[in-house]
């Protein structure tokens, strides 16, 4: 098969076009937020947010409620719950995250096991991007728009609280409030990402493209642009690979992200070695 056909032929199908758009949107929003996740060392909480959404999804599914609403509610409860548990500092934040994360995830699995149709739930765990409907696609686009607008409007405040929370506080900002805003945005992004790569792999979309971009540039806007580009390329490539090889799309997308990261990392390492030996 010639390479053009390899890339283009799958897109004669409507579901593949929808999946490609969904993948690109979800990947881009996660990567954008992911830059803050990586720079603010929030990787663990990102992973936790993705997992704690599970009981929300399952409860919504069982009651035939809106699944996105269920996921959002669970995400926001988690974000607030972590803040509340660790507020008095008797329990450190990462411990609070660990407790909520595993507790909510176990609750989700318990609820799933009570009804015996694991097939539907496997999509929640591992993603089902080719099952994205047009309605969902519109929702992802709306979520992406909200996230991008908020990131642009609060750019200087989010940037400042990320590297110098003390100065931010002195000039009258509330770093904790901005952190909650960021967590709420992450909950929005996670909702889309779960459809694409599933609960278990969502944090990869948050972390890996941003981490790759952080190896390539020392400028925040450039880092965001690069992370977005890497995520979009990974989503589309992963989708094609999964179509042609008939393997799980979520895992394929994540592995392409990781492959790009490793490639960049190896090139950087060789480059660094050369530079130090030249001196």
């Amino acid at each position: 098969m010639n390479p053009f056909d390899w890339v283009l032929s799958p897109f004669q199908y409507n579901f593949m076009r929808t999946a490609a758009l969904a993948g690109a949107l979800v990947g881009a929003t996660c990567a954008l937020l992911g830059v803050y996740v990586v720079l603010r060392r929030m990787a663990f909480i990102g992973d936790a947010l993705a997992h704690t959404v599970l009981p929300g999804l399952v409860i919504a599914y069982l009651n035939r409620w809106n699944m996105t609403g269920g996921a959002l509610a669970a995400g926001i409860i988690t974000a607030l719950g972590i803040g509340w548990l660790s507020r008095r500092r008797e329990i450190r934040e990462d411990t609070a995250i660990g407790i909520l994360f595993t507790g909510m995830f176990a609750l989700g699995i318990l609820l799933m096991s009570a009804v015996r149709s694991f097939r539907d739930f496997s999509h929640m765990l591992f993603g089902y991007i080719i099952g994205v409907t047009d309605d969902q696609l519109r929702l992802f686009a709306a979520l992406a728009l909200v996230i991008i607008v908020v990131l642009v409007l609060l750019h200087k405040e989010l940037e400042l609280t990320s590297f110098d929370p003390i100065h931010a506080q002195v000039i009258g900002l509330r770093p904790d409030a901005l952190r909650y805003a960021l967590l709420a945005l992450m909950a929005l992004a996670v909702v889309g990402a779960i459809q694409a790569v599933g609960v278990v792999l969502t944090s990869a979309l948050l972390i890996v493209p941003a981490a790759t971009a952080s190896l390539l540039t020392k400028r925040l806007p450039a880092m965001m642009a690069l992370a977005t580009l890497i995520a979009v390329i990974s989503s589309l490539t992963g989708l094609l690979v999964s179509y042609h090889l008939d393997v799980a799309s979520g895992a394929a997308i994540v592995l392409i992200c990781i492959a790009i990261f490793l490639l960049v990392w190896v090139i950087r390492t060789i480059h660094e070695c050369r530079r130090t030996t030249q001196r």
Partner: protein, 264 residues
Amino acid sequence: MNTARRLFLPYGGRRAAGSPSDAPALAAQDLCVRYPGADQPALRDVTIMVPAGARVALVGPNGAGKSTLLKSAAGLLPVVGGSLMVYGARPGSLPHRVAYLAQRGELDWNFPISVRRLVVAGRYPHLGWLRWPAREDWRKADAALERLGIRDLAERQIGELSGGQQQRALLARALAQEADLLLLDEPLNAVDAATREVVSTVLRDLQREGKTVVVATHDLDRLQTDFDDALFLLDGQVVARGAGQAHPHYARASQLNGRLEVTA
């Protein structure tokens, strides 16, 4: 007039309380401050008055309460006893009039941001929500960089600077903020001689401009030349006052601490 109105719309919608112009820059009465979760107060019964336009040094060994006093004045720590007023208002309520320079280590220097962008953050209290730095703000940031002699480093990532250059960048941000009261925590700690010279000059110029400067320092050599007054702190209390001489009580204590040499 427009600028005056902008000054009174700080972040969070908190309007600056109408502060009388003759209020001292800093006035503490029996001030007690305790860090959240600590048993012992970090400051006990501190009564001081810093008039507007003065240059005051806070001197004392590590843990004496110098940083605590600065942080309290910046509104970062709750006052648990007594009172503390900044220009006659509650600490933290005048963000555009008070600049605080934390010790260098309290910032994430690996963050992907340029020196120029770090400095323009000094303009944020004048901008508030939803407004991007305008040409005028960038101009003030550049002028501050120029004044500290690091204009040529403006586009570097902040982590690529040396310790002294980082300290200058932070001071540049405080200048860009155009604050009336500058609270500087150990700005001369572990910096090169050139930076010391530049910082000293800037502090002198600031006084000429009518700004108030309160500096926590280990450096006793420069007390008489660089400051109008000095407060000696020990164990959270003010034990002596005056830039003219190192107080004998303080000298003994600092020798015990093993960190300071008293040359006066």
